[in-house]
């Protein structure tokens, strides 16, 4: 099962891409204002994410659909 974590954009340099599902900074999803991004992993919590709030997919989807993460002014 996947686990999701939201981090501040300033922490992107601390991401160990060998320990998460995303492969690079280019593939990350950022919030609409660019201040946060999502990271996800399977299995044990990577050391750089210990202590951060974690979400299941079911829990994070409503957050992703909020105006902070989905731009209400975008066309689709």
């Amino acid at each position: 099962m996947r686990t999701y974590v939201i981090l501040d954009a300033s922490e992107v340099g601390n991401v160990n891409f060998d320990a998460v599902i995303q492969r690079s900074t280019d593939t990350l999803r950022y919030s609409v204002d660019g201040s946060k991004f999502v990271i996800k992993f399977e299995g044990d919590t990577p050391s750089f994410l210990i202590g951060e709030p974690q979400y299941t997919q079911e829990e994070i989807l409503p957050i992703m659909h909020s105006a902070d993460w989905t731009d209400p002014d975008a066309q689709p």
């Binding site: 996800k40 989807l61 731009d71 689709p76």
Partner: protein
């Protein structure tokens, strides 16, 4: 004469340089270089059967990216199967182009680059979508277990996409399944739409001489989905395979 030993994707052997196996799941020959599997499945002999797997996207940040833009300058057809959980998510987009998208809008209607059709998507079930452009008229066909619909929209000029399952920015990631994406360089007919739908069971498209790209989707290995006709392979970003397929 020697015979390859077999394995499956789920039970794939550990990597060993030069290890060569026949994958009984994907019907492909796979060779390990010690780190990744290289797949030899491009002779069109192993891939003509029904879909066995699709791609599942998590609606958070999963997407697929083509190595070059899927571009339509004149007549074309785009066929794909989609099983969405929600409306208002994006199936095709393009980096840096906010006006380039194929999606369902907030009412569930299928739209192309901001022009909505009157054809609605059905959530929770497999929908076959065929967009067929002749001159500047795109006919949108949607077929599913619960009903068929079609309508036309007007859209001229070049259309181009390189993202599957997401919009360029601002959210709208696809939550659901995607399978059997195909591109044709002609405008297909309503009869073709019916034949490709095949009563809900996608079949062999090789009989279409206008077929230029065919991504069977779940039949992927590691991080790449092969283009069985062209060379425009898809890179997988987070999406995983699912055995939920149109049938």
């Amino acid at each position: 004469m020697s015979t390859l030993t077999t394995h499956t994707t789920a039970n794939r052997d550990s990597h060993s340089i030069g290890l060569c196996k026949f994958n009984t799941t994907s019907k492909a020959i796979e060779v390990s270089d010690g780190t990744n599997w290289s797949v030899y499945d491009n002779d069109l002999l192993f891939s003509t059967g029904p879909s066995t797997v699709s791609m599942s996207l998590d609606g958070v940040d999963d997407y697929l990216e083509s190595s070059s833009a899927i571009s339509f300058a004149s007549d074309f057809s785009l066929s794909f199967w989609i099983k969405p959980t929600n409306v208002n998510d994006c199936w095709f987009g393009r980096w840096g182009y906010s006006g380039a998208f194929i999606s369902s809008n907030s009412s569930g209607n299928i739209q192309v680059d901001g022009t909505a059709s009157t054809v609605g998507i059905t959530t929770g079930e497999w929908n076959h979508i065929l967009l067929s452009r002749s001159s500047s008229t795109i006919t949108v066909y949607k077929k599913s277990d619960t009903g068929n619909a079609s309508s036309t929209i007007t859209k001229s000029g070049t259309l181009a996409y390189n993202l599957l399952g997401r919009y360029t920015s601002g959210g709208f990631y696809h939550l659901g399944l995607m399978d059997e994406v195909a591109v044709f360089n002609t405008a297909l007919s309503s009869t073709d739409a019916t034949n490709i739908y095949n009563s809900g069971a996608p079949g062999n498209l090789f009989s279409y001489t206008s077929l230029t790209n065919w991504w069977r989707m779940g039949e992927s290995i590691d991080s790449t989905i092969p283009d069985y006709i062209g060379t425009n392979d898809l890179t997988v970003n987070g999406a995983v395979t699912s055995t939920d397929v149109p049938s």
